[in-house]
Amino acid sequence: MANEPVGVLIVGAGASGAAFAWRIADMGLRVLCLEQGPWVKQSDYPSNNIDWESRGMGPFATSPNIRKLPADYPVNEQDSAISPLMFNAVGGSTILWAAHFPRFTPRDFRVKSDDGVADDWPIDYQTLEPYFAINDRMMGVSGLPGDPAYPYHEPPMPPLPLGKSGNVVAAGFQKLGWHWWPSDSAVTSREYEGRAPCINLGSCISGCAQGAKASTDITYWPAALRKGVEIRTGCRVREVTVRPDGMADGVLYYDEEGALQEQKAEIVVLACNGIGTPRLLLNSKSPQHPDGLANSSGLVGKNLMFHPYAAILGIFDEPLGGRRGPTGCSLWSHQFYETDRSRGFVRGYSFEAVRGFAPAQTSLWGMARGFVPWGEGHHQGFARIYDRTTGLLAITEDLPEEANTVTLDPELTDSHGIPAPKVNYRLSENSQKMLAHAVERAKEALTAAGAVETLAEPLMSAAGWHLMGTARMGKDPKTSVVNEWGRAHDARNLFIIDGSIFVTAGGVNPTSTIQALALYVADSIKKNIETLFD
């Protein structure tokens, strides 16, 4: 069935799709967004229930392969050291993220020039700076101005309280003379544009029932809808269609009832994340684009980057407040962020302080590590670690490698029969060295903070939150998929705005930068609209 054509068609209503929709809405074109997931009600989030921890491991699990909801598609991750995580709904993965909200640093955009590795971005921090600020206002960011690791900027709200565990960890960093700073957090520290302040539910990564955590269903989308943007949920796009001249002319998608629909558009924008976007491009083969849409470089699906994570936990002799408070939003450290070749690796990593475990998670974590046995000794083992742990996550900069890929699985399909993505990813030697370094430094920091014992998970396999690099930006069509403002080299009315277009990964969470890029691409389209199709 054919639908009335639109001016701008966005695929995906997550972090980038929402920001882009809001920014492009005043251009005067009809804007439509297709989203495979539903609107999720805050009353459905696990923290409304006493068994919220179990619910967070089931229908609100971060892995689509565990959730297996109708909105999800399977991901073949058998050959990947890290499992990709995502959520499919209006709001996308911001529904389940921790809202730790660092920006990329200026040097993150020029690693080739500074360190001789990977590539420089075709844009810089200064280009994105105004968009970072707009995005901070739209998402609602709390933070403390003046972090020396960043150019000066002022988050719109004061910082969140560190809580007991944050105070303890910060004191450890301070004792060592290491950099730390209260996190920029996309969580409200006071009432903000109709959103209530954070009440420390501690359940951020299974949805915020309070609405204090920014997810784009409650930040950008209401504003975009007020501007006239239309969103259709339960719509899974099968392929991007093209005109005889190779330009995009719309999509074919399955609607909520499973009927195949055709939607024509003048501009097509992909916002499906670093796995969904290359999957869709590779599924969009045509005589004009025999290797998949926008893939004349052969780079669609290549250079997949995660952020390899290490988790380091300290056990303390005092109560630390458990999981209460914003899960991943107390403090960060850039002490080891920049290249120091004496460490044996290039580039670096950041630390993100996290809070302790809730009771059920304590028991499972304790069981897996031998602290909480069954039978005699159970309660003593539990008491030793309950409310006595806090930790650090090391977020290491992954460098792009063409061998790390998203391809189409030859057999696995989603519920509509569309080929599913297959991820091939191995950890580089550089990343392994970085993780090992980070584990030792984190143990040092936690010990300085008073930990009586430290434990590490040197590579968190179920931590593929950040999906980047699979349709990289650049000025040369031979070595990149999109140009410096997100336009596909091979189809001038096709844009990509998610983490796929990252050239390098930085060593911090990417959502702030993804959204700033999406706003910048929207403005670039507006600026270039008169010559867009020339």
């Binding site: 989030y45 923290s47 409304n48 229930n49 006493i50 068994d51 919220w52 921890e53 179990s54 491991m57 403390l144 003046g146 972090d147 020396p148 690791a149 960043y150 150019p151 000066y152 910082p159 309280p161 560190l162 809580g163 007991k164 944050g166 105070n167 910060a170 004191a171 301070q174 700073w181 209260p182 009440i199 420390n200 539910l201 501690g202 359940s203 029932a209 309070q210 407040g321 209460r324 408070g325 009771p359 059920a360 304590t362 028991s363 499972l364 069981m367 909480v372 069954w374 039978g375 005699e376 159970h378 309660h379 309950y386």
Partner: protein
Amino acid sequence: MTETPAPLRDSAFVQALFDVVIPPSDDGKLPGAGSLGLASTLAAQLEADPVFGPPVQAGLQAVYNAALARDPAGFAALPPQARVEVVESQLGAHPMLMIGLTLHLYPAYYQHPRVLEGLGEPPRPPFPEGYDLEPTDPHLLEHLRTQPRT
């Protein structure tokens, strides 16, 4: 409707076995897992668990049968130490039994209102009341204010 496996339908067996896995705490603040009425929850979860469900159910049956062989009155009639011995005697043949059982029983136990109360936690969902959080130590912030701007 799927039939509940025999051991999990025997409430005396379930109570005794769950108390072996998580006994009452010595100070009496925390109940044994057997007293919380978790059998039907566990049975449903095990039915839905394709990985651990079958080996746990097989292991439970083996424990059930081994106890009957030891005392015709069954597992619940055994003295506490004998119950532990019966469970342990089956772990060689059923190595997944306790891993799978605790994977389901621990979360069920630690989200039960009586257990939360025993831990000193309010027995309620996090929302809408939320929790208090210790403010940032002002001495830490004072240190940050001395940092040079970039």
